[in-house]
């Protein structure tokens, strides 16, 4: 089975679990966790019951990730041992790291790719086998206000303490990050943020100075760049500086990337791209996240020719653009 087919399979699994839960609720019969605020002790209990039952399903999928210079966390998302974590936990592709299961079992894993833009990273357990895993949420399946819970190993693995749970709500969702008020600490990095349905919606990334305002990589980043993360080097900010340059700033939307501004004298301006245009594809690959555009452009050397499809008003237009060099301070 190919990797994209496997990803598709996880999504199907996720859908099978989620859809019945939604369909039971009529328009006027929301579950307690779908309301703006819980109104009673009964509703708090309902949220608690949902989270606790889901917690039992997913707790064995969360691992500690250990290297000589520190520890992070991660979550298994496939039976053959793929682990989502943070880019800053793996650092680079091809690194051997030790993972520790909640019961203390230790295994070796190898880092694959990821991206420093969103802080997404992937590991794979080296030894063949079958492991319990958690489903990834579908893209755009979480929103501001949703209840969620964070799992991880703050300050590293502790056999007596076990996994540490934190509950909160999504307080902001931007292109490459999700913010919640789940309290996090060093060692949590790379650990999973779960929806109340037990799907991975984010990966713990940066820990904010304010305890109730922490950052997570979005699951959308993994979905959008899946093949690239699995097969290519970890995409770094250094790569962004050295790589090809287009010269647009965009806002991510469901129908593509809306151009907000075009840099004067950039390849984008020379190709007549304009604010308001909606970027659809680069070299035939659909643009579902802003990060994907950044990676597709900056992973090519300056001077490369790319095919860009965009929408202006009703018309789809295709252009060939020669990428420039990102200008650096002299």
């Amino acid at each position: 089975m190919g990797l994209s087919a496997m990803l598709f399979a996880y999504m199907v699994v996720a859908q099978v679990i989620v859809l019945p839960l939604f369909s039971q609720d009529g328009e006027n019969n929301f579950s307690a966790w779908e309301k703006e605020l819980p109104q009673s002790i009964g509703e708090l209990k309902e949220i608690q019951k949902q989270m606790q039952s889901v917690l039992q399903r997913v707790r064995n999928t969360v691992v500690s990730v250990e290297a000589e210079d520190g520890a992070g966390s991660g979550v298994l998302i496939s039976s053959d041992g793929l682990i989502l974590t943070a880019a800053h936990v793996i650092g680079e592709r091809g690194r051997k790291m030790q993972i520790v299961f909640p019961d203390g079992q230790k295994l070796e894993a190898l880092s694959l790719g990821g991206s420093e833009i969103s802080d997404a990273g992937i590991l794979k357990i080296i030894e063949p086998g079958e492991w319990e895993y958690a489903p990834m949420a579908l893209a755009n399946n979480s929103k501001v206000g949703d209840w969620c819970f964070a799992l991880g190993h703050p300050s590293g693995f502790d056999a007596d303490r076990g996994l540490v749970l934190r509950v909160g709500r999504i307080i902001e969702k931007k292109e490459e990050t999700l913010q919640t008020d789940c309290r996090l600490l060093g060692g949590d990095s790379g650990g999973p943020l779960f929806s109340v349905y037990g799907e991975v919606i984010g990966i713990h990334s940066r820990i904010s100075q304010s305890p109730e305002d922490n950052f997570h990589t979005t699951v959308e980043s993994f979905i959008s760049n899946w093949e690239y993360f699995l097969n290519e080097e970890l995409h770094t900010f250094g790569d962004m500086q050295k790589g090809g340059f287009l010269g647009v700033s965009c806002k991510q939307a469901t129908d593509g990337l809306h151009i907000l501004a075009v840099v004067p004298n950039s390849p984008a301006m020379n190709a007549n791209l304009q604010p308001g245009d909606v970027l659809k594809r680069v070299d035939g690959m659909p643009l579902d996240t802003r990060e994907k555009l950044m990676i597709l452009i900056s992973s090519k050397p300056p001077g490369s020719l790319v095919a860009i499809d965009y929408l202006r008003e009703e018309n789809e237009i295709s252009v060939q653009i020669t990428l420039g060099e990102r200008l650096v301070e002299e």
Binding site: E36, L37, P38, Q39, S40, I41, E43, L44, K45, Q48, M51, Q52, L55, V144, G145, F149, P154, S155, D160, R161, G162, L163, V164, L165, R166, V167, G168, R169, I171, E172, K173, K174, E175, Q179, D181, R183, L184, L185, G186, G187, D188, I207, Q209, P211, E212, G247, S249, C250, K251, L260, A261, V263, P264, R290, M294, R326, L327, V328, E329, E330
Partner: protein, 336 residues
């Protein structure tokens, strides 16, 4: 001129790529957040009952601990080491009363105080949840806010377990030595920590600890692990070929070394004593070290135990009712 434009546009394009200059995303309004002003309203009357059973303990007008009313005659339970020197309590109605200490237990770090009041008022004591150590992971838990005006919300966040001894510390860095016949060298002395106060100096060579000759760092560590903060350690050092005897009152890990731990720098002040408890519940509530001694409550408004240590910003310990009640009941039986 050209280079100035280049810099400007490079800055703009980077900020457009990484920031959100033109579209303001909608953030969840503060009152809807986990510890926003509105969530606690779901508790209704239970919230007021919880708040009426909690008091703030003050020393020199400063909040130093919370306490739980445990008897209608006006007895309260708190964290012993946090409540040292308390003079008055303030209730959630902002009434002040003098207090006096009645009992103190080193093992659990609990203390019983009596509220001194001329009026024969009956105090609203907390209702206990028995055997609270079996509370499930993910159960909601509540504590009073610092000012006793609202409540903090969180969950039981990890396995209930005993917490071992951290041991006392000298607050020095020693040269890692396997076998030395002329003492173990002191590489660093942390200012104001136990060793510094006792006069230990950089380059001193430790040759005897509590009368026993030491040849490696492991031997020193084993002695320290069996001592608590506050215990005395007699150290003989070789200083420029003279033997000097030093008597060190050992300090807390939290005071000496946690200053160098990034996680704890981000966590803010933590409890001095956060070790050596026979059993704890762990939770993730937003509490400060000045709120230790207060109660942790469940959805029924029953007290699960006494908040006993703020460990870091995601970790707090609560002594469960099955540890607290035997101590408390013995004390209450002994009172007239």
């Amino acid at each position: 001129m050209k280079s100035r434009l280049v810099i400007l546009w490079n800055f703009l394009s980077l900020s457009f790529l990484f920031g959100e200059p033109l579209s303001l995303p909608v953030a969840l309004a503060p009152e809807y957040r986990l510890n926003g002003s509105s969530i606690g309203n779901a508790l209704g009357q239970t919230k007021d009952d919880i708040l009426r059973s909690i008091v703030g303990l003050y020393r020199n007008e400063r909040l130093i601990a919370h306490g739980v009313i445990v008897d209608p005659r006006g007895f309260l339970l708190t964290k012993a080491s946090s409540s040292v020197g308390a003079r008055i309590i303030k209730s959630c109605q902002n009434e002040s009363f003098p207090i006096r200490i009645r009992k103190r237990d080193e093992v659990t770090d609990l203390a019983l105080w009596e509220i001194v009041s001329s009026s024969a008022s009956s105090w609203n004591s907390a209702t206990w949840e028995e055997e609270s150590n079996v509370t499930d992971l993910g159960s909601w838990a509540f504590s009073a806010s610092a000012s006793l005006e609202g409540i903090g919300l969180g969950v039981i966040s990890a396995t209930s377990r005993p917490i071992g001894r951290e041991g006392g510390v000298m607050g020095v860095l020693l040269k890692e030595t396997n076998s030395s016949s002329h003492g173990i060298e002191v590489l660093e002395v942390l200012p104001q920590a136990a060793g510094d106060r006792a006069g230990l100096k950089i380059s001193d060579r430790i040759i005897r600890v509590d009368g026993r000759p030491v040849k490696n760092t492991g031997q020193i560590n084993r002695v320290l692990q069996n001592k608590d903060p506050g215990d005395l350690l007699t150290v003989v050092v070789n200083r420029k070929d003279n033997e000097v005897v030093l008597r060190i009152t050992l300090g807390h890990q939290a005071v000496a070394f946690d200053l160098f731990n990034r996680n704890l720098i981000m966590s803010g002040p933590v409890s001095k004593r956060k070790d050596n408890f026979s059993l704890i519940l762990q939770h993730d509530l937003p509490v400060t070290k000045e709120m230790m001694g207060g109660g942790l409550f469940n959805l029924q408004g029953h007290c699960l135990g006494i908040n006993i240590a703020r460990v870091d910003r995601v970790t707090n310990y609560t002594l469960p009712s099955n540890v607290v009640l035997p101590v408390l009941n013995k004390w209450l039986d002994l009172l007239p």
